[in-house]
Amino acid sequence: MGIETMIGRGRDAIEMIFDQGSVQENVVEQYEFDAEIGPGAVVGTAKLEDETVTFIASDAQAINPRFNVVYFGVIGMEEAYKMALAVYRTMEVDKDKPLEEKRPIVLIVDTPGNGPGKIEEIIGMNKATGAYQLALAEARKIGHPIVAMVIGRAISGAFLCHGLQADNILSLAQDYGTMIHVMPLTSISRITKLDIERLEELSKGNPIFAAGVNFFYRLGGVEEIVENPEAMRPLIRKHIDSVRELKVSGQAEKLGPWGRGLLGDERGGRVLRKKVIELMDAQYEDIAEKYLTV
């Protein structure tokens, strides 16, 4: 079997992951979303082994006719707020459900960036991407299992926006052309003025700056690497279940960005983080009394 990339194929991924015939776009229970607004964002409801989930993905084929920098999977202002709304509506429809019944949210990640335009800066693109992240963080903390599946591009701020607030992050293996990075090594080379061969050599021993799925895995930024697209469906299911189990048993600190910090230490990729935190904690303990009893 030849290896075919999933870049630009968010809609195919939706079909591959969820139960056949279960995908309903632009719907979360009684709430409907305008298909014309935020065309680069695909949100809706589907079933995964008969369980109802909310999905959020990008459509790389869509072009936003109102914002000219939004195409090829870029998350623009409309897209980010539409994604945020899908999360808020998901919380709302499940608000009376117990922890173990909060519906999962599956993020299918293939996005090269947030809208890099002048209108975006005038109106505030930073608010749009921030709003979506806060919505995801809130949903995660009130018990919705959130699993991100990186199928293509997870680039810098766009990965922060759509992915890095999930409980667990899965990524298709590097062989599929999956890209997780802030900047490609060529750009880092230009900025640091170090030649590319030297950077490549250095990145072998230090995953901290180089582009790639395997480096993010070592830093704890990705929980599990998915070897092929057929494995996405069962592994997303598995992670939804394990995330839910941790939440129900009061171990949520092992999930989300903080949990990935712990994982980065465990995997030996990010060991300074813990040292800094421990030293700060100790220094604070020494003086806390003075500040709390004024």
């Binding site: 002048k118 505030g124 921030g130 709003a131 963080a137 990965f159 901290i208 830093l219 704890g220």
Partner: protein
Amino acid sequence: MSAWKDVQKLSFTDASARERALGIVDEDTFTEFVGPRNKMSSPHLPILGEAIEFDDGIVTGVGLVGKRPVFVISQEGNFIGGSVGEVGGAKMVNTIRLALKAYEDVKEKYPDSYEERLPAVVISFETGGVRLHEANAGLLAHAEVMDQIQNARGKIPVITVIGSKVGCFGGMGFVAAATDIIVMNEEGRLGLTGPEVIEQEMGKDEFDAGNKALVFRTTGGKHKYIMQDCNFLVANKVAAFREQLEEIMEIPFAEVENYRRIGSLKLVEEQFELVKLAAELQPKDSKEMWKYYGNEDPDQLNELPFEEFLKNAKRRERNC
């Protein structure tokens, strides 16, 4: 005269990150965590031939405003553009975490009167976001900061101050937007994609980064004030920022939520309306938004001295 008194007179833009940190809280109350003496520098920079700083370009610690412990994070733009790496990122994350620990402690110690001792977090941003030399760790730290900001919701206020030359861009641009209250001066800038990056990616027609007036009009304090993307605009003095912080600390905590821009369904609906308006107006310049909100002569308004600008500027109306 004490260092604190001297610092009050400094312009906020000229002050160092450490001067801003100690100057924004009450006199002689600031204690630094993991300061230069601890030599927690980045081990990743020397590998790429870069110099280090013993504080990794971020000053963190705690001070007081009245009885309230104020946890401060202050970024230093003179060190690799205030960029966030593994060490500095961890310092940011844990400062908010410690403020939340202090919150639990004061609640336990003073169950009936903890609000007068309610901790707060103040972040002075001066950054373009992720430090490329340790980009992956920096990126992951951004997600952790965002996570802690959500942890602080409904418990303690998180306040942004932006008054630096570098401004606040990249991932830290949305971290700032996610805080409760934002204070800027005219010199401060807040955005996501910096002008040079827009020009590089989309061309000079989209954004002419060499046009300094355009740059300031698009992301500068005055524009953010009119758009309600910053709550308070203050003079460019450390003392002015500190006085504003003192006033903010008088706001009853239950009202702090009203100062936010994002972070709830209601607020997202309000912002979505603003995006619909932008789709309709297609503003090529922030001046068009100033005009839309009732400022008939944006150029004249822009020229006004600071105090006059505050008196005359008409701002976007909040509908909630």
